[in-house]
């Protein structure tokens, strides 16, 4: 591991707790639907309302998704895990306790790897456990009263907890993006951060290198990658300021306010409730036998990290390329189709990570709606590989494809007259003419001025109207000048 980046001489330490809402049709312990956006209190049944006499029954679809996650991050899927009650009073918590997992979670260990620039980072997971969401308290809509919407109560969540392995806000955001990618890739979560389907809590502390871990503060409910970075950066600066001013950090839970760009404490450790966890007597331990895990494994699509390994092996791609191309299923599929059609995987990778990604990142279009098909891109790459067009000319063709000027690569090349001059006799004639007309440059070059050579290449390209192969021009020029 490379030595950590320091901020004003402090090392930043970050751990994450992420709540991923699982994509089941019904709730984790009842049959009420989980659909978002319905009228308040219309998606809650007797069990969600905690009416007297109701009991929880495990939704096996939620368990299956937890198993899929465990497999995706190379974790241990526990043969036996235990549901526990977390007891506290709040109006949007109908039972007066949340059913969660405490001592024995369903997913144990695991890791998430990603690239931060050129560095490969690995964040270790402590655990992932199943639990139910609470309802929503609406404090603003009612004067002097609070409204309660229990539609969300009982929605299945997977809480994913990391070790404090991250050392910068950039790394934390990269981790969160990677995790987001994984849960969406395997289809256990819709990843919708605005609707709260993927919420992150960041535990942040700072320390001087070599010192024990500092006291952490937990930033709650970060629901965008942008705010995540802002919040952590602010929190790090704030903690360092406090320490530099001689104040100790108090363990606390804080909220980030996007309007002010600041974090502020909600509660300190002294207010921390005693949740009186104990095994839920209404639910027997969750038993997952090997056969179940194997069946889930058999039904799962290829995982991103497995696919990346395959790209390295089968297409001889660098690990960085393979990881980048497996950011989403659609991107990976686009690459594979292109690479197979043109038989130039590295070129395909370069184009997708370059021209295609640049346009995708500008945000105007999604990978599912690319105007250039993999077949078109492959045709274009074939024409680069067989020296029909130069790389620069290919960019013009790509633009034309993107803008819908045409659909056929060869037709566009012809129409734009971009075909490279591969007739060495014609090129030789052009070069001879350039040498004859630019005696000054020839003299300068012979006197040792390298720049004069570039001027000659430029003249030759210009004379060929850009159709000459630059490498061929360079080679011929060198040959003739050294003669």
């Amino acid at each position: 591991m490379s030595s950590p980046k320091l901020v004003q001489g402090y090392e930043v330490v970050i751990g994450f707790e992420t709540h991923a809402q699982l994509s089941t049709q019904s709730k984790i312990f009842s049959r009420a639907p989980t659909a978002f956006g319905a009228e308040p209190n219309t998606q809650a049944c007797a069990v969600d309302l905690a009416l007297p006499g109701t009991l929880p029954v495990m939704n096996l679809g939620a368990v299956e998704r937890a198993i899929e996650f465990g497999l995706a991050v190379n974790a241990h899927v526990a043969e036996r895990s235990v549901f526990a009650r977390k007891n506290y009073f709040y109006p949007d918590l109908p039972k007066g306790y949340q059913i969660s997992q405490f001592e024995i979670p369903v997913v144990q260990g695991g890791e998430v790897s990603f690239f931060l620039g050129d560095d490969k980072k690995t964040v270790r997971l402590v655990r992932a456990h199943l639990e139910e969401d609470a309802g929503k308290s609406l404090h603003e809509d009612f004067i002097g009263q609070s409204g309660i919407d229990l539609n969300r109560a009982g929605t299945p969540l997977l809480e994913i907890v990391t070790e404090p392995d991250m050392r910068s806000s950039e790394e934390a955001v990269a981790y969160a993006k990677e995790l987001h990618k994984i849960v969406m890739w395997i289809g256990i979560c819709d990843g919708n951060m605005q609707e709260g389907s993927f919420r992150c809590d960041a535990n942040v502390s700072v320390r001087k290198p070599g010192q024990p871990l500092g006291t952490r503060r937990e930033i709650k409910n970060l629901n965008s990658f942008k705010f995540m970075q802002q919040a952590i950066d602010y929190e790090v600066r704030w903690q360092i300021e406090q320490l530099e001013d001689g104040h100790a950090i108090q363990q606390a839970t804080v909220l980030f306010d996007p309007d002010t760009g600041e974090t502020r404490a909600m509660r300190t450790k002294e207010d921390a409730a005693d949740y009186r966890y104990f095994p839920d007597p209404d639910l027997p331990p969750l038993a997952i036998d090997r056969a179940w895990v194997e069946r889930v494994k058999g039904e799962m699509a290829e995982l991103p990290r497995v696919m990346a390994e395959r790209f390295v092996r089968d297409y001889a791609l660098p690990e960085y390329d393979a990881t980048t191309l497996t950011q989403s299923k659609a991107m990976a599929a686009y690459f594979e189709a292109t690479a197979q059609a043109c038989a130039q995987p590295k070129l395909a990778s370069n184009w997708i990570m370059g021209e295609v990604s640049r346009r995708l990142n500008s945000g105007e279009i999604s990978i599912d709606a690319l105007p250039v098909s993999s077949a078109q891109l492959a045709a274009l790459i074939r024409r680069i590989a067989d020296n029909t067009i130069s790389n620069n000319a290919a960019k013009q063709v790509f633009d034309a494809l993107w803008n819908g000027e045409g659909a056929d690569v060869d037709a566009l090349i012809d129409a734009k007259g971009l075909k490279q001059m591969n007739d060495s006799g014609a090129l030789e004639a052009i070069i001879d003419e350039v040498l004859a007309n630019n005696a000054d440059n020839v003299a300068q070059f012979k006197a040792g001025k390298e720049k004069a050579f570039n001027a000659l290449v430029g003249q030759a390209m210009k004379a060929s109207k850009g159709k000459a192969n630059p490498q061929q021009v360079t080679d011929l020029l060198k040959l003739k000048l050294s003669a």
């Binding site: 007797a46 009416l51 007297p52 006499g53 009991l55 029954v57 007891n87 007066g96 005693d274 007597p281």
Partner: protein, 488 residues
């Protein structure tokens, strides 16, 4: 068949009366309703003549159409911890005064599914916490054998109603003895099946890992009929429901007792056992021996520990189960409060009675950080040891027999201010509850003050048929279960 008064007929007899059209379901219901309405012992918490008669008319229609179910038209009443659509459900608490459930408990709907007609809801200790029924927020039920005495609890209303012939049968729930002890005190027959046999869905939870529903009636034969209807897998609604097929618990009633090994635990006959109860239980054991059973001395050395273990685990679960009664969604809410926390405090202070508050506090304490290992975890370990002890002795015997409670029913108010004395009286019923084993109580004679004394039978898991068989054979040779209080 003699046409005895309808209220003196057993469930089995009433089935025949209705089938043979000697009385209609409406007539039977009206007969019992009149008795219930005349009762002044605090037995019922809710009666609704129209609701009952509507059910009875439906039974009559099915009887007329020839589509009658096995217990068609026979009345019963439910302990008020079973939620019902047709009657309010309070669990004996102010907290749920006037509460109406939008659904029926599984046990309630299963019995209705066999054609039974509900007379109403029976009084009980608040949230089933107590052994005297004095913890009901509404009334202390009086024992039909002596109105100055308690009926036992927590299913005190159920036992008293059956004893007083207000209903031929009732449902009860048993967490630490709440079916067996009042059955013993009121001279009726009651059985708590194996944990998981009867669905807990719709049974207001006291201690989830212990709560179990069961029938109370006058005889083992009647209990077998009711238990067959009540039990059945309900895994889609209750995760602790056992996935076993329904069983006809009447099938083995007639087996002879020849060769039956009856285990007699010496710990059940110690100094704490009152001499009158001791005498009655001894006589009952002699009777079983006379019928061919073999008495086997056994030991359950952890019997005494069942009291502290139970009074840690049950309150721990209760403290959490009762958190939903917070004034937010249903039930009582304090009128005046300053903020959310004040609302919680006042609502719960007003809504819960002393014993419920006591158990919530004990439970909260034993689950608290720093105490959990010493109390809750330790109690769970001993609970497993108690269960293991039973498995050891069931290698030597087929059923276990002994007293249900150390004494006969005590006087109203006698132990009202002494919770510990109440807790200690549960000593013989707690071990089977903690182990999840089936247990029953059947009338075995009379002790001090002419009060009924029950014999407890405990069986191994899923051995309800064996218990009912032993009880029925005993009842074929004795008439204690046929005795009725003068008031009835």
């Amino acid at each position: 068949m003699t046409s005895s008064a309808l209220h003196d007929q057993s469930v089995a007899q009433l089935v025949h009366t209705l089938r043979s059209k000697q009385a209609s379901a409406v007539e039977v219901a009206q007969h019992f309703l009149a008795r219930c309405q005349a009762d002044s012992s605090g037995t019922f918490l809710a009666l609704d003549e129209e609701a009952t008669l509507t059910q009875a008319r439906a039974s009559d229609a099915r009887l007329a159409a020839g589509s009658a179910s096995s217990l068609e038209g026979v009345p019963l009443a439910h302990k008020d911890v079973f939620v019902t659509r047709d009657f309010p459900t309070t669990a004996g608490s102010k907290m749920l005064e006037g509460y109406r459930s939008p659904f029926d408990a599984t046990v309630v709907s299963r019995l209705a599914g066999q054609g039974m007609v509900s007379l109403g809801k029976l009084n009980c200790d608040e949230f089933a916490m107590g052994s005297s029924n004095e913890n009901s927020a509404y009334a202390s039920v009086k024992n039909p054998w002596d109105s100055s005495r308690i009926p036992g609890g927590s299913s005190g209303g159920s036992a008293a109603a059956v004893a007083a012939r207000l209903t031929p049968a009732a449902t009860g729930t048993d967490t630490g003895g709440s079916i067996r002890q009042p059955a013993s005190f009121c001279g009726v027959t009651g059985i708590k099946p194996t944990y998981g046999r009867a669905s807990r869905y719709g049974m207001i939870a006291y201690a989830s890992s212990l709560d179990q529903a069961g029938p109370m009636a006058r005889s083992a034969e009647d209990c077998a009929l009711l238990l067959s209807a009540m039990c059945g897998s309900d895994v889609d609604r209750d995760s602790t429901s056992l996935d076993v097929a329904t069983e006809n618990f009447s099938a083995q009633l007639t087996n002879p007792l020849q060769g039956l090994r009856v285990g007699v635990p010496k710990e059940f006959f110690g100094a704490g056992l009152a001499s009158d109860v001791h005498r009655v239980v001894d006589a009952a054991l002699m009777q079983l021996q006379a019928q061919g059973a073999k008495l086997v001395p056994i030991s359950l050395p952890l019997t005494e520990l069942s009291i502290p273990v139970y009074y840690i685990i049950a309150p721990a679960e209760a403290s959490s189960n009762l958190s939903r009664f917070d004034g937010v969604k249903f039930g009582h809410r304090a009128k005046d409060y300053t903020d959310l926390v004040d609302m919680y405090k006042k609502t719960r202070a007003e809504g819960f009675g002393d014993e419920v508050k006591r158990r919530i506090m004990i439970g909260t304490y034993v689950l608290s950080h720093g105490y959990y290992d010493a109390y809750y975890l330790q109690a769970q370990k001993i609970r497993r040891m108690i269960a293991d002890d039973f498995q050891r002795v069931f290698a030597e015997c087929d059923v276990i027999a002994g007293p249900v409670a150390p004494t006969v029913a005590w006087k109203l108010g006698e132990k009202a201010d002494d919770p510990l004395a109440n807790y200690l009286a549960d000593i013989f019923t707690l071990p089977a509850s903690l182990a999840g084993l089936p247990g029953m109580s059947l009338p075995a004679g009379f002790g001090e003050g002419g009060m009924p004394v029950g014999l407890q039978l405990i069986g191994n898991y899923l051995q309800e048929s064996k218990l009912l068989n032993v009880a029925h054979q005993y009842q074929l040779n004795t008439d204690f279960h046929l005795q009725k209080p003068q008031a009835a």
